[in-house]
Amino acid sequence: MILASVELIGVFRWLYGLLVELGLEEPWLSVVIYGLLSVTIFGVLCLIALFLVWWERKIAGHMQQRFGPMRNGWHGWYQTVMDALKLLQKEDIRVDTRDRAVFFWAPVICFVAAFLAYIVIPFGDGLIVADLNIGILYVIAITTFTVISLLMAGWGSNNKYALLGGMRSAAQVVSYEVPMVASILTVIVFSGSLSMVDISNSQQGNFIFNWFIFRPPFGIIAFLTYITAATAEANRTPFDIPEAEQELVAGYNIEYSGMKFAMFFLAEFVNMFTVSAIATTLFLGGWHGPLLPSWLWFIIKTLAIVLLLMIFRWTFPRLRVDQLMEFAWKFLVPLTFANLILAGWMKYAGWYW
C-alpha cells in the first residue's frame, strides 16, 4: 500500500522488499519507510531552496542590469551553498530580554509547517509520499501554521520591529487565506475530489487543454486570484509588509541569527515552492503533459510559476497596509466567491468538456 505511493523510486521498492523479507510487521514497516522518505524530502527541499535563492539573486541582478553573484563557480552557482555553510558557523546571538521558549520554537514550527505540506504534493506519476484523501484541505490547514510561528517570532524577540512584523503578517496571511480557499474551491468543484492525485488525474488528456486553467473564464479567474493570494501567503513582494525592509528593517526575523535565521529563510523559499507546486497541481495539470517524463513536467511548470513570483517581486512596488487589507476584503473576497458560484453553475449546466 505504501509501495503504491513511491513505486517509481527503485531504491524504496528494493528497501521495501528487504524489510518485508526481514519480517517487519505493518505499522513499523510504514514508520521506517516514511522516516526515510522524510529525510529524502528534507534533502530535496534543501537543494530546491539553495537553487531558488541563487536563481532569485540572478534574476534580480539581470533585471537591474547587473550580474548578481559571479564569484563562486560558473555564474556563482555554489554561492548559496557557501552562504549556508557560513550561516552554520555563525554565532547565535540571542537577546537577553527574549521569551526563551517562544523564541526558540518559532523557527522550528516555521520550518516544520512548510515541510509537512510535502507529504501530499505529487512530484510525478506515483512520486508522492502519501496520497491522503483530504490532500488539499490538509495543505491549507498545515501551511497556516506559519502564521503562528511568525507571531511567535515577533512576540518572542521582544523587539518593536519584530512585533509589528509579526502582527502585520498575521493580519495579512489570515486575510488572504479566504480568497485562496475560495479559488481552490473552484477547482474542487471542477474535479470533485480533495486528493491531489485525483485532481491531477482529472486534468489528464486532450493535449494540454484539459488543464483547469483552460476553462474560461472561471478557471483563469481562479488561477489569477490564487496566484495573488499565494503571493501574499508566501509573504512576497508586492505583499511583503511583514518584512518590509525600509520600514521594519527585517520584520519578524530581525533578532534571529545563525541557524535559526537560516530556518526562517529556508521555510520562506520552501513556502514559495509549495504555493507554486499547488498552483501547478490545481490549475496546470500537475505532472500530466505530452512527451516529457512526468516529474520533469512538474518541475518545469512549478519553476515557471516560481519565475512568475520572482518577476512580480522585482516589478511591483510594495502595497501599504491599508491598501493590502482593502484589496483582500473588498476586491478579492467578493470576486472569488462570485467566481465560485458561477463556476458551479457552469458545471451544473454542463458547459465544460
Partner: protein, 117 residues
C-alpha cells in the same frame, strides 16, 4: 488509514532534523555574548522600554471576520466535493448561504470595520 501515519512521522522527523542542525551548528560556532551584543536591535539606539505593551493592533475585527469565513469554508469543502452528485438544489442552497454571508461583509464594510486606519 495507515497513510496518516506519515503526518506524525513527518512532524517528528521535521522537529528532529531542525534540532539536529541547531545542535550541529552549536558544535562548530563561536559563542561570545556580551551585554552590548545581546541588547535589542533598534537601529543602534538604546531601546526604550519593553515591546510587550498594550497597543492597538487593529487586528481583531479582521480576526473575527476571518473566523466566520473559515467556518464557512468547513461547509464549503464537502459541498464542493459532492457538488457533481447534488446538482441544482445544492447550488441554490449555496447561493443563499453565501448571500447571507456577504450581507455580513456588507454590514462590516458599511460600519467601517474593513478600514485599517
Amino acid at each position: 488509514m495507515l497513510e496518516y501515519l506519515a503526518i506524525i512521522i513527518f512532524i517528528v522527523a521535521g522537529i528532529g532534523i531542525v534540532l539536529f542542525t541547531f545542535c550541529f551548528s552549536r558544535l562548530i560556532r563561536p559563542a561570545n555574548p556580551y551585554p552590548e551584543k545581546t541588547i535589542n536591535y533598534e537601529c543602534a539606539e538604546i531601546p526604550q522600554g519593553h515591546s510587550w505593551i498594550q497597543f492597538n493592533n487593529r487586528f481583531y475585527i479582521f480576526g473575527l471576520i476571518f473566523v466566520i469565513f473559515d467556518v464557512e469554508a468547513v461547509f464549503l469543502f464537502p459541498w464542493a466535493v459532492a457538488f457533481g452528485q447534488l446538482g441544482l438544489y445544492a447550488l441554490i442552497e449555496m447561493v443563499i448561504f453565501i448571500t447571507i454571508l456577504f450581507y455580513g461583509i456588507y454590514y462590516a464594510w458599511r460600519k467601517g470595520a474593513l478600514q485599517w486606519v
